[in-house]
């Protein structure tokens, strides 16, 4: 007994001396002593606190919901039963008959695409007013030669993201060429046009930031908005008055709530993918400065299609491109290559090189496609005739199609992207281009749906338009309906036929095509009544 006690006291002593040998232990001991003497309760509290801290640290994060009030405790056997019982839905919903028919009847081009490609199946050569070949660069022999030479130097794939040896000199060259062409400080290249804008938006706009967007922005922008998790306000499609009201409303709200200053963005498109209408850039710039917003402009369809040499909206309206904070464009559509870009100040570009998800986590685009795009820009720069021909062709089309009164064309007169919609048989006030009467109340900015929503029968109109497409194809002209992800878009788009005019056609060919389309439209749509 005694021996044990002695041993205990000895070990306690060694422990104590050992403890005091540790650096800083004196301080700790003094603190504990004095605190305990002053207030024993405090020591108990501190010990509890310590235990709590240790427990929190040891607890894994994923286990957090187990303790939630909705968690139900099951025994192992019950879980087994539940697992056995559970039958999941099939992974894929089968396509509807119409969808499979649509998919099966998709036109497939055999060999090179271009103004006059051959179709698989019929083997017929058709006039192509469906593909994006606005500038007619597809099939350009000079570009092909340059690309072939580049292939012998660079190979095809870049085999890595830009951070890891994927920044090839031709990418840097193309970025500089784009920036020079548009007149911005710098630009950054993404390897797919569709992924560009949906990556640019969340790179800048985070939770708590404010985005004011047009109600008719394209699908890629919608996805970018969704990823950004920002506060989103909508203004009526291409309605600058509505935009100003929304901006004013937000200002009021901020003043009222005294919320801290956050980043604020206006997002809209140059030429809208959904209907081909065009944004009023000068007014946008004016509002942007007035309310201190940054402007994200998606020029996917206006870059390379409007302006004297195809520099896009900025050239058309004679606005310096540096006024637009983030100018997004496509290398795939007008330059007939692949990828997209975002041009802006060097700070904006540098930020994306680290924060642009689709930039950082994706392999850079193949070198030969960069070379092709650089050559394409050089060609556009040197030959304004391309754009003037394109505009001439657009005018030819519009002059013929505008006369038809059973259709509506919401597209801008200069837009080479021409959407043709069926004119509603009934009320004339529901024209998509009609500006809502000023007397009516403005739309709710928090809802993506406008106040006076158009009503249309998607299925019936799609069927009619498809009939036109098929009829026109039978006459050797390839056009397409605008394909949509029904049910996934933020608001349904009115079905339309989407024409893509190219500068590769002569005036005569355009006249002939437009007449064929017009006749067919008249024929099919008259049956409806």
């Amino acid at each position: 007994m005694n021996a044990t006690l002695e041993y205990l006291s000895y070990s306690l002593e060694t422990l104590e001396t050992g403890f005091y040998k540790l650096p800083g232990s004196q301080v700790l001991a003094r603190y504990v002593k004095s605190s305990h003497q002053n207030d024993p309760g405090r020591t108990v509290l501190e010990v509890i606190l310590l235990i709590f801290v240790i427990r929190t640290l040891l607890q894994s994060r994923t286990r957090a919901d187990n303790s939630g009030k909705h968690f139900i405790q099951f025994s192992e056997k019950e879980i087994d039963e539940l697992v056995d019982e559970w039958t999941p839905e099939p992974l894929e919903q089968p396509l509807t008959e119409r969808e499979s028919l649509d998919l099966a009847s998709l036109p497939i081009i055999s060999g090179a695409t271009g103004p006059k490609p051959k179709l698989v199946g019929s083997g017929k050569t058709v006039m192509n007013f469906a593909s994006f070949n606005f500038t007619g660069l597809s099939g350009n022999e000079h570009i092909h030669q340059k690309a072939t030479a580049a292939l012998r130097k660079y190979g095809l794939g870049s085999c890595g993201p830009t951070g890891f040896y994927g920044t090839i000199d031709v990418h840097t060259d193309l970025e500089r060429n784009i920036a020079d062409f548009l007149g911005t400080e710098d630009s950054i290249l993404y390897s797919q046009a569709f992924s560009t804008v949906s990556s640019v938006i969340p790179a800048f706009s985070k939770r708590g930031d404010i985005i004011v967007a047009d109600r008719s922005v394209n699908f890629a922008i919608q996805k970018g908005l969704q990823i950004s998790r920002s506060t989103i306000r909508w203004f009526d499609h291409n309605d600058m008055k509505s935009l100003e009201e929304v901006l004013e409303g937000i200002n009021k709200e901020i003043r009222k709530r005294r919320s801290p200053l956050t980043r604020r963005f206006i997002i809209t498109e140059g030429i809208f993918e959904r209907d081909g209408s065009m944004a009023d850039l000068p007014k946008l710039i004016e509002l942007k400065y007035k309310y201190k917003y940054r402007l994200i402009l998606d020029e996917t369809f206006s870059f390379g299609t409007v302006g004297r040499t195809g520099r896009g909206l900025t050239e058309l309206y004679n606005v310096p491109a540096s006024e637009i904070d983030m100018l997004i464009g496509s290398v795939a559509t007008s330059l007939c290559s692949a990828g997209g870009f975002c041009a802006g100040s060097s700070a904006v570009v540098k930020h994306q090189r680290i924060n642009g998800t689709a930039f950082v986590f994706s392999a850079s685009m193949p070198a030969i496609l960069s070379i092709a795009a650089s050559e394409g820009i050089a060609i556009l720069r040197d030959s304004p005739s391309i754009l003037s021909t394109l505009q001439e062709n657009v005018r030819t089309f519009r002059s013929i199609l505008d006369k038809l009164d059973c259709i509506t064309i919401p597209s801008h007169h200069a837009s080479p992207l021409i959407h043709i919609q069926v004119r509603s048989a009934s009320a004339s006030s529901l024209l998509p281009t009609a500006v809502p009467p000023s007397a009516s109340k403005p739309s709710n900015p928090t809802s993506a749906l406008p106040r006076n929503l158009q009503v249309f029968d998607i299925e019936a109109e799609e069927r009619l338009l498809q009939e036109v497409v098929d009829d026109v194809l039978a006459q050797g002209i390839l056009i397409t309906r605008a394909k949509r992800l029904r049910g996934q878009e933020i608001s349904e788009v009115r079905p339309s036929i989407r024409l893509a005019i190219s500068s590769a056609f002569t005036k005569k060919e355009c006249e002939k095509t437009a007449t064929v389309i017009k006749t067919s439209l008249a024929k099919v749509l008259s049956k409806r009544r």
């Binding site: 999941p88 695409t113 040896y165 193949p366």
Partner: protein, 673 residues
């Protein structure tokens, strides 16, 4: 620090080789023209003259026992970029010149010459054996402690600099602070990590490069006057050994059967298909490629997307939505997370590659149902990667499939890195484990890595793929894949598979042929009629050599590093070998020391946020293009630098460097743990 085995430029063998290479027996005209334009000849002119020289009959191909003696004159000429006729970087010529028996038609700098049949291995998991538990070694505590302290010092210093900087030099901070009613694009808090930590390493990232990212790569030298805030190129270029590009099978080549096919396709198809797949952007080539991909991976059908990242981010929303649950590995790629967020489905994560954690989670979520309502989940999709690009670890597929049987979830395997790189036939992780690819619901992969192309695919049942075609975001909105890229995919894939000379009998039914002949050769009717591959590619022998070289290289480097005492993660068969550095300060030193060697080696260092904070690492990406000499070079370099930086913290048996290099074959075939 000269390397002991750094290749001596004036070694006798070298000079012999140089003599032969300079001898004007072959292609005198072009050689002369090259000599006259040694240093700064116009690149395009050069390429053109080369194109004239190379006749279709001398199409470069990897050949072991050919009688054609096309000693790679062309390849040496192509070295002209930087150092034309000397080998002081030790990369332009093989160390041992080829004998008269051998002939290599690839450029040694793109695809290394290696005739030794011993340096081959098969990437395959022994059937019946459980997947090895990939244990991750922890470093000694003092390493962890010093790592934390380093980060603490960096963070404290950064804040101190910000504090003082804001007072002494406010102009440098205006863009980070609200001014004049504008919120900063990037606040000083958000950008702290980038401004104060990453910038110190910036000279190790985003190298501007030129040329083919093959066995070697040419980097532009960079310099900085303001501590990495701005980097500018000096105008000089350096060729170095490329152990960083995702070029697993070495198809990054400017010459060879695939490149020739691409050239042919540019003249036939042009460069773009000018539109989305559903809006007149579909070419016959797309259909051909999709059928071939399905055949390659052993599924009914496939759909191709023009960007690897977008493949995940645009198709996952077509598979799941509200009321569905996605269970995702914690280290899944950003594109998967992007896609899941777009889909609106709920997400839960499980511990990396931990089957137990996955099972626990499955039991919990199935029994609990949806949060709050407790309704059963509509469906559960488990998303894993075949090979994790940062860890080098492989999914334990057999185990996951067992769970799938029991818990009835759907399985999505992202084979971005594993397709082509794993398995005896290169068909990815299913091939490696010898499981039926049809047991996986969705097989996704990319073409950037093994095939030297770009973009990605999803393969699965026909009905599923049709759904993705119609409901996936890329169908109506994203540009279709450009024809040259499709051609590279078709050509490289066909040369891995080999081409069956006789068309199969049931050629009309795509599904049944695909299933019957997996993992067999590609039926000739599935390829474009104009595609003319050189014989070695056509019979699949070169593809086999590539697969076997990659498997050898992967094992050799991974095991060599372990035997040297380094801590590496992941599977031995993975072509991605992460070497742990832990300390953030060691990253830039390692990277700089590697590229300043007599034979520069270009490596990738990865740190937070791509990896957990403490496990900074070097990531080696092996390729079939590397030779054993290249791996020896890397091991030697790592050995020296590892001693300097105190990196050899691993446990287990150690071998001296020379022993590793001598017994390489034995090491690779050895049964370890």
């Amino acid at each position: 620090m000269p390397s002991p085995i750094a290749i001596n430029p004036v070694s006798p063998s070298q000079s012999i080789f140089k003599k032969t290479s300079k001898s004007p027996s072959n292609l005198p005209a072009s050689a002369a023209s090259y000599l006259s334009a040694v240093s700064q000849a116009d690149a395009h002119a050069r390429a053109r003259s080369l194109a004239n020289v190379v006749t279709p009959t001398s199409t470069p191909a990897l050949s072991m026992s050919s009688s054609v003696t096309v000693l790679s004159e062309d390849s040496i000429l192509r070295e002209g970029e930087v150092k034309m006729y000397d080998n002081d970087d030790g990369l332009s010529y093989p160390r041992v010149p080829p004998t008269s028996e051998q002939s290599f038609t690839t450029a040694h700098s793109e695809f290394g010459h290696c005739a030794n049949e011993e340096y081959r291995f098969t990437s395959q998991h022994p059937v019946g054996k459980p997947a090895p538990h990939q244990e991750e070694q922890d470093p000694p505590y003092y390493i962890l402690l010093s790592t934390y302290i380093s980060f603490m010092i960096l963070i404290c210093l950064g804040h101190l600099r910000d504090f003082i900087g804001k007072r002494l030099k406010p102009s440098a901070y205006t863009h980070l602070q609200p001014h004049d009613g504008w919120a900063p694009l990037n606040s000083d808090f958000d950008s702290f990590y980038i401004r104060r930590l990453k910038v110190r390493l910036d000279d190790c990232f985003s190298f501007p490069v030129t040329g083919v990212p093959g066995r070697t790569i040419i980097c532009y030298d960079r310099d900085t006057h303001d501590y990495n805030v701005t980097l500018h190129t000096t105008g000089r270029r350096t060729r170095g050994l490329n152990i960083s590009s995702y070029n697993y099978l070495g198809f990054a080549q400017a010459r060879g059967g695939c490149a020739d096919a691409v050239v042919e396709s540019i003249s036939r198809y042009g460069l773009s298909s000018c539109g989305a797949r559903l809006e007149a952007g579909s070419l016959d080539l797309h259909q051909t490629a999709e059928r071939l991909v399905a055949q390659f991976v052993g599924q009914e059908d496939s759909v191709i997307s023009s960007m690897g990242f977008a493949t995940n981010s645009t198709i996952i929303p077509a598979l799941v939505g509200k009321g569905c649950l996605v269970i995702s590995d914690e280290f899944n790629h950003a594109s998967i997370r992007f896609g899941v967020r777009l889909s609106g489905a709920s997400v839960r994560t499980f511990k990396h590659n931990n089957v137990k954690s996955l099972e626990d989670l499955l039991r919990e979520v199935i029994s609990q149902g949806q949060p709050k309502t407790h309704r059963p989940w509509k469906k559960i999709l488990v998303i894993v990667e075949g090979l994790y690009s940062m860890e080098g670890s492989m999914v334990n597929l057999p185990k996951v499939l067992e769970l799938k049987e029991k818990y009835k979830f759907y399985l999505f395997v992202d084979e971005a890195h594993s397709i082509g790189a794993l398995g005896p036939h290169g068909r990815g992780v299913t091939d490696y484990f010898g499981v039926n690819p049809l047991s996986v619901d969705v097989l996704m992969g990319t073409f950037t890595k093994s095939f030297g192309a770009a973009g990605g695919y999803v393969a699965g049942k026909k009905s599923l793929i049709d759904l993705i075609r119609v409901k996936g975001h890329s169908g109506p909105y994203a540009e279709a894949m450009p024809p040259p890229v499709l051609t590279q995919v078709i050509a490289s894939m066909a040369s891995i598979m080999g081409v069956a000379s006789e068309p199969l009998k049931t050629a009309n039914d795509v599904t049944s042929t695909a299933l019957a002949s997996y993992p067999g050769p590609a039926p000739v009717h599935m390829l474009p009629s104009w595609l003319d591959l050189p014989p070695l590619l056509k019979d699949g022998s070169e593809g086999q050599v590539r697969l076997r070289r990659l498997a050898f290289n992967s094992r050799y480097l991974s095991r060599g590093l372990k035997k040297l005492g380094f801590i590496t993660y992941g599977s031995d068969d993975s072509p991605i070998v992460p070497l742990m550095l832990f300390n953030p300060g060691k990253m830039c030193v390692f990277s700089r020391m590697m590229r300043q060697r007599a034979t520069p080696i270009f490596i990738v260092v990865v740190a937070y946020p791509a990896t957990p904070l403490v496990t900074s690492r070097v990531r080696f990406c092996l390729s079939a293009a590397h030779t054993k000499d290249d791996i020896d070079l890397i091991l030697t370099a790592c050995d020296e630098i590892g001693d300097w930086l105190d990196l050899k913290q691993g446990s287990g048996e150690r071998w001296p460097l020379q022993q590793i290099m001598d017994r390489a074959v034995e090491l690779v075939h050895m049964d370890m743990d």
